[in-house]
C-alpha cells in the first residue's frame, strides 16, 4: 500500500526553529528522552541545564551565579551535613577584585548558601583573601571538605595548592606554605585542586598541571589531608586525536558515589578540550574496590554547551535522586562575562520547587 500526499503544513515555525536549534546546537540531554519510565541512571550525567522555574532567589536559569562585578566563578558546592536526602549546601566561589573583569586573577574566595541545593542567596561572605607571599596575590578554584562544623578549604594560588582551615566554618586560616608546591611530572605548579574523602577515611586530591604544554590531571594521596603523596605519573592525560579531550584535560572535580548495587565509585569530572578547541565536561572513574586502579574515561561529554563557551571548573554534588553539575563558563561565545550554570542528571527528573522561590 502506498500513499503519497502533498499538503500544506500547519505547524508553527517557531517550534521548528527551536527544534532545529536544539538539533543543531545543544549537546546536553534532551528533555523527554524516549525509552522506559524510571530508567536506571548512575546520576553521573548527561546533565540537562535547569530551565525556567527551576531556580529560585530571582536567578535566571540556568545561571546559578551571575555576578559580573566580582566575576564569581570556580564553583565548589558542599553538602553541609553530608546527607544526600537534605538539600542545603554551601557554595564557594572564586572572586576577583570589583570591576577587575573576568580575565583578572581571582583574589578571594567567597561563600554563599542555598537551601535547595542550587538557588544561592545574594549575600556572599568572603572566606579567604590572598595574603600569603607564596600565593602571589591570587586565590581561586576552591575545594572544600567538611567534618561537622570544621572546614578544610583547598585552593589554587600562584605557588601551588594551598590549604586554609576553619574550626567553625566561619573564619579560615591559611597555611604559610602550599601543601603541594610542585609535581614531579609537571612543568609548573599544580592548580585547580579537588579533594575528596574516600570511604576508608583517607583523602585523594586531584589537580591540574601542565605537562609538555598540555594540561593534565594529577592525583595525590593523603591520610590526614595535609601531607600529600603525589603520584609519579598523571592520572589523566589528553586523549587520542578526535577525542573529546584530544588537546588536554583540566580542572578536575572528584566525588564519591555508590552504585545501585552498592559499589563505591570515584568519579572525576573534568574539562576536556578537543582538537577543535571546543571544551566540554566529561568524566573518568574507578571502582573504589581498587582505589589505586587507573581512572577509566567515559569518552562521552556529560555537559557540552554549544559554541565556544569553554566550560571549566565543574563541581558536582549528588543528592538522593539527582545530581547537580555546576560549571563556570562564558555567558555567550563573544562575551567576556563569566557565569556559573547548573545542570541536573537524570535529565528527566522533576526537581523539587526552588527554596525560596
Amino acid at each position: 500500500m502506498t500513499s503519497r500526499r502533498v499538503w500544506p503544513a500547519r505547524l508553527g515555525v517557531r517550534f521548528g526553529a527551536l527544534a532545529m536549534v536544539a538539533a543543531a546546537g545543544c549537546a546536553t540531554l534532551a528533555d523527554g528522552a524516549p525509552g522506559l519510565d524510571n530508567p536506571p541512571s548512575a546520576r553521573a550525567g548527561p546533565f540537562r541545564l535547569l530551565g525556567p522555574g527551576e531556580l529560585g532567589q530571582g536567578r535566571a536559569a540556568p545561571f546559578a551565579m551571575d555576578v559580573q562585578k566580582t566575576s564569581l566563578r570556580d564553583p565548589c558546592i558542599l553538602d553541609i551535613d553530608g546527607d544526600p536526602s537534605t538539600l542545603e549546601v554551601e557554595g564557594y566561589f572564586a572572586a576577583s577584585d570589583e570591576d577587575a573583569g573576568a580575565d583578572a586573577n581571582p583574589t578571594s574566595i567567597v561563600r554563599v548558601g542555598a537551601l535547595d541545593g542550587r538557588s544561592f542567596d545574594r549575600m556572599p561572605v568572603t572566606m579567604l583573601t590572598a595574603t600569603e607571599a607564596w600565593e602571589g596575590g591570587t586565590v581561586g578554584a576552591p575545594s572544600v571538605i567538611a567534618d561537622g562544623a570544621r572546614r578544610r578549604l583547598y585552593y589554587s594560588a600562584a605557588g601551588g595548592i594551598g590549604l586554609a582551615e576553619s574550626e567553625d566554618g566561619q573564619s579560615f586560616t591559611s597555611r604559610d606554605a602550599p601543601v603541594i608546591a610542585s609535581v614531579p611530572w609537571a612543568d609548573g605548579p599544580p592548580r585547580s585542586p579537588s579533594v575528596v574523602t574516600l570511604p576508608n577515611g583517607s583523602y585523594r586530591l586531584f589537580f591540574e598541571a601542565t605537562q609538555g604544554g598540555a594540561a593534565a590531571i594529577g592525583e595525590a594521596k593523603s591520610t590526614d589531608g595535609i601531607a600529600w603523596d603525589v603520584l609519579e605519573e598523571p592520572a589523566l592525560t589528553h586523549g587520542p586525536s578526535g577525542s573529546l579531550d584530544a588537546s588536554g584535560v583540566a580542572s578536575p572535580a572528584a566525588t564519591v558515589a555508590t552504585s545501585a548495587e552498592g559499589r563505591k565509585i570515584l568519579y572525576v569530572y573534568y574539562s576536556g578540550k578537543g582538537d577543535d578547541g571546543k571544551r566540554s565536561i566529561t568524566l573518568a572513574a574507578r571502582f573504589l574496590a581498587e582505589p589505586d586502579a587507573p581512572l577509566e574515561k567515559g569518552n562521552k561529554s556529560v555537559y557540552s554547551p554549544s559554541g565556544a563557551l569553554e566550560p571549566r571548573e565543574p563541581s558536582v554534588i549528588r543528592f538522593e535522586d539527582f545530581t547537580f553539575l555546576f560549571t563556570a563558563q562564558k555567558r555567550t561565545k563573544s562575551s567576556s562575562d563569566v557565569v556559573v550554570t547548573v545542570g541536573v542528571s537524570p535529565g528527566t527528573i522533576e526537581l523539587p520547587a526552588p527554596d525560596p522561590p
Binding site: 500500500m1 502506498t2 500513499s3 503519497r4 500526499r5 502533498v6 499538503w7 500544506p8 503544513a9 500547519r10 505547524l11 508553527g12 515555525v13 517557531r14 517550534f15 521548528g16 526553529a17 527551536l18 527544534a19 532545529m20 536549534v21 538539533a23 543543531a24 546546537g25 528522552a33 524516549p34 525509552g35 522506559l36 519510565d37 524510571n38 530508567p39 536506571p40 541512571s41 548512575a42 546520576r43 553521573a44 550525567g45 548527561p46 552504585s259 545501585a260 548495587e261 559499589r263 565509585i265 570515584l266 568519579y267 568524566l283 573518568a284 572513574a285 574507578r286 571502582f287 577509566e296 574515561k297 567515559g298 569518552n299 562521552k300 556529560v302 554549544s306 559554541g307 555567550t332 561565545k333
Partner: protein, 449 residues
C-alpha cells in the same frame, strides 16, 4: 503545489520522530501464546493440536480436522517490569485472536487448511528505535504488538503421518518525507513550505513446517520448524528550504536516513510429544531450540547532514555531520525451551445413556525460557531475565452443539537479575531487574460439519 502555510523546518524532525517512534514489533503468539487451550497447556501442544492455533504450533495438526472449526478469542496480558525496584511502564498487550481450521479429503487423502491471526487492540504495529545504550526490556517492550497472520495447509498421506506448512506474515513500513520551500522563523504564517510523505506498508513472510507422527493410539510425536524473520524499517528525509531570519535568507538542506531492524523472530525447531496416559489424562511435552544467537541489533543506523550558508556572526552554530552509529553486536545466545502441559477431563457430566452432555477439561502448563540476553556489562542495555510461566485453564465442550469455550490464565515470573557494569564511568550504571506478566483470555470455538 505551493500555498501559504504555517510550516516549519522542524516538521521534518517531528515527522522523523513520529516515524521512529511508531511502535511495532512481533509478536504475541510467541510471547503469550495463541488460543486458550494451547496457552493453558504451556504451549506444549506441538503433538496435540488441531484447532486454529495449529497454524502457529504445528500446521501438520490441521490434517486431523474434520469439518470447519472456527475460533474466536481475546487475551489481555498485563506486564509489570521493574528496574531497581521501580516500575518502568512497559505496556501490556491485548487483542483478538481469530482463526479457522478446515478439513476434508482430496483424492482420498485427508487434508486441512488453517488460518490464524492476532489483531492487537492498539494499532496494527508499533516500533521504537532507541539508542543502544537506552535501557529497554528487549523481548517484551517493543516486540509485543504487531499484526500477525498465518495461513497453512496440511496433509495426512498415511494414517500415522501428518505434514503441514505455510507462511506467516508481519507488517513492515518504509517511509520518506521531503520538505521544500521557504520558512520565516519570525513570521510563521509567511512561510511557504511543501511537505511530501511517501510511505509503504508492506509485509514480510516467514515459513513454518510441521510433521506429526502417531506412534500408537495414545502416543504422538511432532517436529516443527518456524523460520526467522524481522522487519527492516527505513526512513529517508530530505529538506531543502530557505530559512528567513529577520531580513536574512539562509538556504539550507537537511538529509536524514535511518535504518533499523525490529521485531526479530528467531528460527525455531520444536520437538514435541503427547501421551494419553489415561483416556481422560493427557501429558504433553515440547522442547524448542530457539536461535536467538542470530538476533540483530535494533539500533537505528542514522545519518544526518545539515548544510546551511550561515552569514558570518550569525548566532547559530551548525553541528558537524552526525557520527555514524557503531552498532555493538547484541551477542544473544540460543536457548532451549522446555514446555510441559497436562489436560484432564473431569469425569461425569453424562446423560442416562452414559453419553457426555458436556465435557469439562482442566489444564495446567509450565515453560522455562532461559534468557538469551548476556549480562549487560557494557554500553548496551538490552534487559531480559529468565522466564518461568505457569498456566492453568479450563473449558467446556458441548458435543451436541459442537461448541467449545476455553479459558486460560498464565503468570510469568522473571526472577531478579543484576547487571554490573565493567566501567565505573558507565552513565547508566549498575541495576537489577525483575518482572511479572499476567495473561488471561478466553476462546470460543465451533465446529461445522
Amino acid at each position: 503545489m505551493s500555498r501559504r502555510v504555517a510550516g516549519s523546518l522542524a516538521t521534518a524532525v517531528a515527522l522523523a520522530a513520529t516515524f521512529m517512534s511508531l511502535r511495532a514489533s512481533a509478536h504475541e503468539p510467541g510471547a503469550f501464546g495463541i488460543g486458550s487451550r494451547s496457552t493453558a497447556m504451556g504451549g506444549a501442544v506441538a503433538a496435540d493440536v488441531k484447532d486454529f492455533s495449529a497454524s502457529y504450533y504445528n500446521p501438520a495438526g490441521l490434517a486431523e480436522q474434520e469439518g470447519v472449526r472456527l475460533g474466536l478469542g481475546y487475551f489481555y496480558a498485563d506486564q509489570n517490569f521493574t528496574i531497581n525496584g521501580k516500575d518502568v511502564g512497559v505496556k501490556g498487550s491485548h487483542g483478538i485472536m481469530f482463526g479457522l481450521a478446515a478439513g476434508g479429503k482430496v483424492f482420498g487423502i485427508p487434508f486441512g487448511i488453517g488460518i490464524a491471526t492476532h489483531i492487537p487492540d492498539e494499532g496494527l504495529s508499533r516500533i521504537t528505535a532507541l539508542r543502544q545504550d537506552v535501557p529497554r526490556w528487549e523481548l517484551y517492550d517493543s516486540r509485543t504488538t504487531v499484526l500477525y497472520l498465518s495461513a497453512n495447509l496440511a496433509l495426512r498421506p498415511f494414517d500415522w503421518l501428518e505434514v503441514g506448512g505455510g507462511l506467516s506474515f508481519l507488517a513492515a513500513t518504509h517511509g520518506r518525507f521531503a520538505i521544500s520551500g521557504r520558512a520565516d522563523l519570525f513570521s510563521p504564517y509567511d512561510s511557504q513550505l511543501r511537505h511530501e510523505v511517501d510511505t509503504d506498508l508492506s509485509s514480510v513472510r516467514y515459513p513454518q513446517l510441521g510433521a506429526l507422527i502417531h506412534l500408537s493410539d495414545t502416543a504422538s510425536v511432532a517436529l516443527v520448524y518456524r523460520g526467522q524473520t524481522s522487519l527492516d524499517l527505513a526512513l529517508d528525509g530530505d529538506i531543502s528550504a530557505q530559512a528567513a531570519v529577520g531580513g536574512l535568507e539562509v538556504p539550507l538542506t537537511y538529509e536524514l536516513t535511518a535504518r533499523t531492524i525490529q521485531a526479530f523472530l528467531p528460527q525455531q525447531v520444536v520437538v514435541g510429544a503427547s501421551w494419553h496416559v489415561l483416556p481422560s489424562l493427557k501429558i504433553n511435552a515440547d522442547v524448542a531450540w530457539v536461535n536467538w544467537g542470530a538476533y540483530e541489533s535494533p539500533t537505528a543506523k542514522t545519518t544526518a547532514i545539515l548544510e546551511a550558508d550561515v552569514p558570518p556572526n550569525f548566532p547559530v552554530e551548525l553541528p558537524g555531520p552526525l557520527k555514524p552509529t557503531k552498532v555493538i553486536p547484541p551477542a544473544f545466545s540460543d536457548r532451549i525451551v522446555p514446555r510441559l502441559g497436562l489436560e484432564w477431563y473431569i469425569p461425569g457430566f453424562t446423560d442416562s445413556d452414559g453419553d457426555p452432555v458436556v465435557k469439562v477439561p482442566v489444564r495446567v502448563g509450565y515453560s522455562y525460557e532461559r534468557t538469551p540476553v548476556p549480562p549487560q556489562t557494557g554500553e548496551t542495555n538490552f534487559i531480559d531475565a529468565d522466564r518461568h510461566t505457569m498456566s492453568v485453564g479450563a473449558g467446556i465442550e458441548v458435543p451436541v452443539a459442537h461448541v467449545t469455550f476455553d479459558m486460560h490464565a498464565a503468570v510469568s515470573v522473571f526472577p531478579e537479575r543484576t547487571m554490573l557494569k565493567q566501567s565505573a564511568a558507565n552513565l547508566v550504571g549498575d541495576y537489577h531487574v525483575s518482572g511479572q506478566q499476567v495473561n488471561v483470555g478466553g476462546t470460543l470455538g465451533g465446529v461445522f460439519q
